[in-house]
């Protein structure tokens, strides 16, 4: 990190932002600008990689180095960038179709390797740029142009997929919550390893209101819980509700009822290697349970890029082969 300070303005490119009026991506873009300014990484040391889709256009709006690649492959390109130059801060912006359908394989393998990239997944549960087909995260039954009688497919839960690939960082936020989004993006960037940030995003044109149950400020207080490491899992307008374990399951309790006090409420530990509770938290859905927001999992372990560099350094320290010429000399060869 440089000692220089940056403002959101330093990360804005000269390109006109071309999303539909009212698109959730505008708010996400602003959160990204703010997060990058807060992180203070030189835009010249930042590489933004994207695939194809509405969200992937974001690359052009960043005054960093950027690569708008092909559909689904951003995670693979980002893996190459980070492996080639681990000093760069690498971000990947992607959507639910790009990341989880055509790019599903690259996504799980990037997560599995724990390469130090930050994946921001704009989840609007629809294909926008191709004008409204169901995506791998569309709710079952959703009527779209490619599912005129309702989709019969079971959707992915991005958190579950991340944990299935042994992911070390997962956070969730919603486009309209700029403060919350900025916070989790900063946390994602600080995490060493593959960070997955699911941003619940609204597509005003093809899937308006997909996240409406939890998008208003009031609904967010009542129907979501923002998890913070080391803090009790409380939510509600006055933090009057909390989460407790009930056997293997989570349950919502109200402070003061049945003798329950804050001491009975679970305290969030995002850093455990065991992801069982993280998965339980990430999978909570309404109406009975609050939707978990914030940093759900943040487990520290070695990264692919660090181990790659470390292995090269170890071999180089031991090997007599320092140049191509040394390599030739090491071969079985003979004079003719």
């Amino acid at each position: 990190m440089s000692s220089q300070t940056y403002t959101a303005q330093d990360f804005k490119s000269d390109q006109y932002v071309r999303w539909c009026p009212g698109c959730g991506d505008f708010a996400i873009l602003n959160s990204i600008y703010k997060a990058m300014a807060e992180l203070g990484v030189d835009p010249s040391q930042t590489a933004v990689i994207s695939g194809i889709g509405c969200s992937s256009r974001l690359t052009y709006y960043m005054n960093t180095y950027g690569f708008h690649t092909i559909h689904g492959r951003a995670a693979a390109v980002a893996t190459g960038v980070k492996s080639a130059n681990p000093d760069l801060t690498v971000w990947q912006f992607t959507g639910d179709g790009d990341c989880l359908a055509i790019g599903g394989n690259h996504f799980i393998h990037a997560v599995r390797r724990n390469i130090d990239i930050n994946i921001v997944l704009h989840n609007n549960e629809i294909y926008g740029l191709t004008k409204g087909q169901y995506s791998p995260t569309s709710k079952k039954g959703l009527i779209t142009k490619s599912s005129p009688f309702g989709t019969i497919e079971r959707p992915f839960r991005p958190a579950e997929l991340t944990f299935g690939a042994r992911g070390t960082f997962f956070a969730r936020t919603i486009d309209v919550d700029t403060k919350g989004s900025t916070d989790v993006m900063v946390a994602a960037a600080k995490h060493k390893g593959t960070s997955v940030v699911e941003v619940l995003q609204n597509c005003v044109i093809f899937n308006d209101g997909a996240h409406k149950e939890i998008s208003s400020k009031e609904a967010r207080a009542e129907k979501t819980i923002t998890l913070e490491h080391g803090k009790p899992m409380l939510f509600g307008a006055d933090n009057e509700k909390g989460l407790m374990l009930d056997g293997f399951n989570l349950k919502v309790v109200t402070l003061g009822e049945n003798g329950i006090t804050e001491k009975d409420i679970l305290v969030h530990d995002a850093t455990t290697e065991d992801n069982t509770l993280h998965l339980k938290l990430a999978n909570m859905t309404g109406p009975d349970m609050p939707v978990a927001m914030g940093v759900i999992r943040n487990f520290a372990t070695s990264t692919y890029n660090d181990e790659l560099v470390q292995q090269i350094e170890e071999v180089q320290a031991k090997s007599k082969i320092k140049t191509f010429d040394d390599l030739l000399k090491s071969l079985d060869s003979w004079e003719i």
Partner: protein, 612 residues
């Protein structure tokens, strides 16, 4: 026995080792050829192995072969047919019946030619040689299995391990037959089994016993000697094409002062390129074994964007999967080397067999107008030079380059004079001369037409690239019709321009002939031998062998227009011929094709040309 066997001096000889895929024939063949190379012979080798790692023992499907051509003169090919065929079982005999020259020697393990062995190989009589109609051959049977068992009688090894060593008995016998001192083989075995001293000792004992058995029993009436070759003095090794490709990339990276990156997914017959590079952490090579072929190239494209000399290695099916990403590299204008080790196709095809049928895929197999550079290596050892050149062109012209090799030159070996990197041309990456404030991402070198390569991390030159059509200057997204035309044209012109930077086409053989044989890539050795043979027998012929395919050498039209008859010989149904016809429509071209998963045989070409 007192008298020594008669030694016959030979100019060249072809030996083929063949057995079960578990019989160690590849090792035996490699040792025999390296040994001969040390003794000053020219060598060319070709392994021919099944796709299955271990097919049922003794069956035709499990036969693995290794052919070695040794000579006191320039050797271009592993040879058409074998002078000496070593077979470890009846199945190997049956598979190789056409691979033996009339009058040749068949050395076989008598123990495996029993009722069960003959049955597994599908023989119906007890005389397989007669059954196959093999008449004019010299049979040299020895109970190799029993002799190996005797050799290791008190070694303490189990029966399975002992029987597995019989390839060393065969090698010892071959060493005697060709007057190769075995102390040199000992040195190779010591390297190979450095970590298994007990196995090393067992192998050495069997090897020596095999040699002594031949020497003591005069297993054959005569032995052979092949004199030293008159090649350039210097330090040599034997190398296969895959290793040479890896070395070429390493050399290019060092020359360019760039870090080397490979993104690759395992695929036969290209995987050894990845193995070689993965082993070179000492030279800082970064290898990502990717989750699929697409990620192989995409990680490489990412690494190139980040400023590495980046490559991906694959074979035909993998190249198909990489098509879209190659288009991205063309559009983003990034340096990239794509190595395609061609195999038999289409689809999964013949993974372990050779073919040249990916040419049109390499040239055209992408959406849109998507030009790039296509070059092809000709021999195992020149894979080094063409990998180096592929990297040089990619970096200096900021473009993807497809390097075509094939299963034959990738796995075959030839003698390689250790190169001096100082004698290779410099590789200079084009960096912008314009200050950051006024620099635009798609500014071009006025001469070469490439854009400049600026990696993230370079202060002030922040820019965006991508797969959408770009504005001619700024690189911003542009859908302007005229701009698109201009960009399509400049991408093609950039590639065409490379013709100014590659060597002109040379003619081999009798340049004054009426007949010009045209070839490209891995058939180089066979075509040269065919031209030599034609000229020796009074049939004048010349050869124009192409290594640069897109763009073609500048003098291609001039050379081809001098000949009355042009015959394009290639291991496909006529892809290069049709490409040449499209480029030089006024020139009449005939073709000679073979698509059998096998290299040409020299006599096939000679016979075809003389029949015209």
């Amino acid at each position: 026995m007192s008298k020594t066997a008669k030694v016959i001096e030979l100019d060249q000889v072809v030996v083929r080792f063949s057995g079960d895929s578990g019989d160690g024939m590849q090792l035996t063949g490699t040792l025999f050829s390296n040994l001969s190379a040390i003794l000053g012979n020219e060598i060319s080798t070709f392994p021919d192995y099944p796709a299955e790692i271990r097919a049922p023992q003794g069956t035709l499907g499990g036969v693995s072969g290794f052919q070695v051509h040794l000579g006191a003169q320039k050797i271009n090919t592993p040879g058409d047919q074998a002078d000496v065929l070593v077979v470890m079982n009846p199945a190997a005999l049956k598979v190789n019946v056409k691979a033996i020259k009339p009058g040749g020697v068949i050395l076989f393990d008598e123990n495996t030619f029993d009722e069960s062995g003959l049955k597994k190989a599908g023989f119906v009589t007890d005389n397989p040689f007669e059954e196959l109609g093999l008449k004019n051959v010299q049979l040299l049977g020895a109970p190799l299995t029993d002799l190996t068992k005797l050799s290791l009688e008190n070694s303490g090894f189990d029966n399975k391990t002992i029987v597995r060593s019989k390839n060393m008995f065969a090698l010892g016998l071959a060493c005697w037959l060709f007057n190769r001192p075995i102390d040199k083989a000992q040195h190779f075995l010591e390297t190979k089994f450095a970590k298994k001293p007990a196995i090393l000792q067992a192998n050495l004992k069997v090897l020596i016993d095999g040699f002594n058995y031949g020497s003591n029993t005069h297993a054959a009436v005569s032995t052979y000697h092949i004199g030293k070759s008159e090649i350039d003095k210097g330090r040599y090794t034997s190398i296969n094409g895959n290793k040479a490709v890896a070395f070429g990339l390493i050399a290019a990276a060092e020359k360019a002062g760039l870090q080397l990156f490979l993104g690759s997914y395992p695929i036969t017959p290209a995987t050894d390129v990845m193995h070689e590079l993965a082993a070179r952490k000492d030279l800082g090579v970064r290898v990502v074994q990717s989750e699929d072929e697409i990620a192989g190239i995409c990680t490489a494209i990412g690494a190139s964007f980040a400023g590495n000399l980046a490559a991906t290695s694959t074979s035909g099916p993998g190249l198909a999967l990489k098509s879209e990403a190659i288009g991205l590299a063309v559009m983003a204008e990034l340096p990239l080397v794509i190595v395609d080790v061609q195999r038999g196709g289409p689809s999964t095809g013949l993974p372990t067999k050779t073919e040249q049928a990916d040419l049109l895929q390499a040239l055209y197999g992408r959406n849109g107008e998507c030009p790039l550079v296509v070059i092809a290596a000709g021999t195992p050892d020149d894979c080094f030079d063409y990998a180096f050149m592929a990297a040089k062109i990619a970096v200096e012209h900021v473009t993807p380059v497809i390097l075509l090799t094939d299963g034959f030159i990738a796995n075959g070996t030839s003698l390689w004079k250790l190169p001096k990197l100082s004698e290779y041309p410099a590789i200079v990456a084009p960096r912008p001369t314009e200050p950051a404030e006024t620099w635009k991402a798609y500014m071009r070198d006025p001469e070469k037409l490439n854009r400049y390569w600026v990696a993230p991390g370079t202060p002030g030159y922040n820019h965006r690239v991508g797969g959408l059509e770009k504005d001619f200057l700024t690189g911003a997204i542009s859908t302007d019709p005229k701009n698109h035309q201009k960009m399509v044209d400049v991408r093609q012109a950039k590639i065409d321009k490379i013709a100014d930077y590659i060597p002109e086409l040379e003619v081999y053989g009798d340049a004054s002939a009426d007949t010009l044989i045209v070839g490209w890539g891995g058939t180089c050795g066979h075509l040269r031998s065919a031209v030599d043979k034609l000229n020796e027998t009074g049939n004048k012929a010349a050869l124009a062998h192409f290594n640069y395919i897109m763009p073609l050498p500048k003098n291609t039209r001039e050379v081809l227009s001098k000949y009355k008859k042009i015959v394009v010989c290639e291991l496909n149904s006529g892809q290069f011929a049709s490409y040449l016809r499209s480029q030089l429509p006024e020139i009449s071209i005939s073709q000679f094709n073979k698509v059998q998963g096998q290299p040409f045989e020299v006599h096939e070409i000679v016979e075809h040309i003389t029949s015209l």
